[in-house]
Symmetry: C2
Subunit: 260 residues, 2 copies
DNA sequence: TCTCAAGTATAACGTAACGTTAGGGTCAAG
DNA sequence: CTTGACCCTAACGTTACGTTATACTTGAGA
């Protein structure tokens, strides 16, 4: 009934995808011993050898040494079925470990991206100021919210980031130029409008298409410079910058966003 | 700003999880060269070395040779970010290949299980009869439906299979003993009832809790011995078995299942 | 200040799992 | 009976470290 087909080394080699040398080797170390009765010294393999070889190859792909494989195959109650169960288990473990690696790589990538975007945003501002600002923000928001902020940062393409930075720089410069003017000055309010629109744009990118910045949020933004040190950090843009910007923003909120 | 912390070999070893020897080796083959200015000959690593080492380890876990890793790390446009992208890609490929292996193992397992259950069911029946029966069934149902049948067979635990076989054998024997009796004979009908209940039990296991065998199905079962050869195969249980069983089943269906 | 265990270095041999010649039989087709 | 495609054994080469062996440094404690 069984065809009992036999295979030469090269046939097995092609069929299973291992080198002839490997078959020699496995014969040599008595891991897989073919029949050799044909008295010409040739190795002859049959179906059962092929199955065994497949088992070996799976374990090998999982980085077991040949000695380990030998004992795995010789293990108690090691019929083909329990072999397969064992292998499935090991394969699942391996898959898990790879999933972990993928995850770790992804975490590293988002960290890197966030760092890069942070660099784009604050690269032109003196380091010690950025650092001091960072610690103050951490105190204000708690470190978990900072984590979230960084995660958000990581979402952006660098191009978009550059554009935002450009607009933002322009606005800051314009603000700085108008220090001394009154808040209701049309030019100042025009700049402030631009600022509000930029904030809106950012909010949309971060929170989804139609998430506008509310008047409360904009007022809170204006007041976020709520202590002397924070205020001083803003002076980087110019003497009296913080007060000027805050005033303009509050005025804008009252006039255009119906703030109290 | 950068702490620029430095690490000794054993510190790196513990931190990253490689042997000191490995660090020596990587230094030797110029894959990862630490600073050694401290004029005592000691190796000193910093943050950037750690990152590089991590990259190496990921590639190593993916079975790249150190030479391959060297060129991967030196490849064009190989900043950390594109490294990570490359690695993620390779990791995904690897995960796919493992998924394939798992799949192949599972297929082998179900085949094996089906074969074993088949053996339980038909092990005591002469091989050539089973074979002939198999080919006739294949003609009747088409080879795809046979595949399905085997898949169903694979679902069962061997214990359940043994029990079913036992009951089935008993019923067949009882049927054989009553060959010659009329179909309406209460004993014959009692056996037939047992048979119908067994078929029902099997149907429930296969198709879910409350799937009863309909009268049409039972009639079809009775008539499945629809040619001379098939009929002869059934004679294995006794002279005239096929006709006797079919008659009893049809009678049962008419009486108890409202068959036409 | 000396001491000594713990850490570091180089150097060199060992190993696993084959790859790669080298040198020589076997077989089937023409 | 040749010839080309296979097959064999034997033995050295290779990769990526593990494992001694021998010797220098270092930092905490007697």
């Amino acid at each position: 009934m069984q065809k009992s087909k036999v295979y030469s080394v090269s046939q097995v080699s092609k069929l299973v995808g291992v080198s002839v040398r490997t078959l020699h080797h496995y014969d040599h170390i008595k891991l897989l011993r073919p029949a050799r009765k044909m008295d010409n010294g040739y190795r002859y393999y049959n179906q059962s050898h092929l199955i065994l070889l497949q088992q070996i190859l799976i374990y090998r792909a999982l980085d077991f040494t040949l000695e380990e494989i030998r004992s795995l195959l010789n293990a108690e109650s090691s019929d083909l079925f329990s072999q397969l169960e064992k292998q499935k288990q090991v394969l699942n473990e391996r898959q898990q470990s790879i999933a972990n690696m993928i995850n770790s790589v992804e975490v590293t990538m988002t960290n890197l991206k966030a760092k890069k975007n942070h660099e784009i945003l604050f690269g032109d501002i003196p380091k010690e100021k950025v650092e001091r600002w960072g610690t103050l923000e951490k105190e204000r928001l708690g470190s978990e919210n900072i984590e979230k902020k960084m995660a958000v940062l990581a979402q952006f393409d660098h191009e978009i980031m550059h554009k935002l930075k450009e607009e933002s720089t322009e606005i800051s410069d314009d603000f700085a130029k108008t220090i001394g003017q009154t808040f209701d000055n049309p030019i100042v309010q025009e700049i402030t409008a631009k600022h509000y629109q930029l904030m809106n744009k950012i909010s949309c990118v971060v929170h989804g298409e139609n998430s506008q910045v509310s008047s409360e949020q904009y007022v809170a933004m204006a007041n976020s410079v709520d202590n002397k040190e924070m205020e001083e950090l803003c002076e980087f843009y110019g003497q009296g910058y913080a007060e000027h910007a805050r005033g303009a923003m509050l005025y804008y909120a009252k006039k255009n966003l119906n703030a109290k």
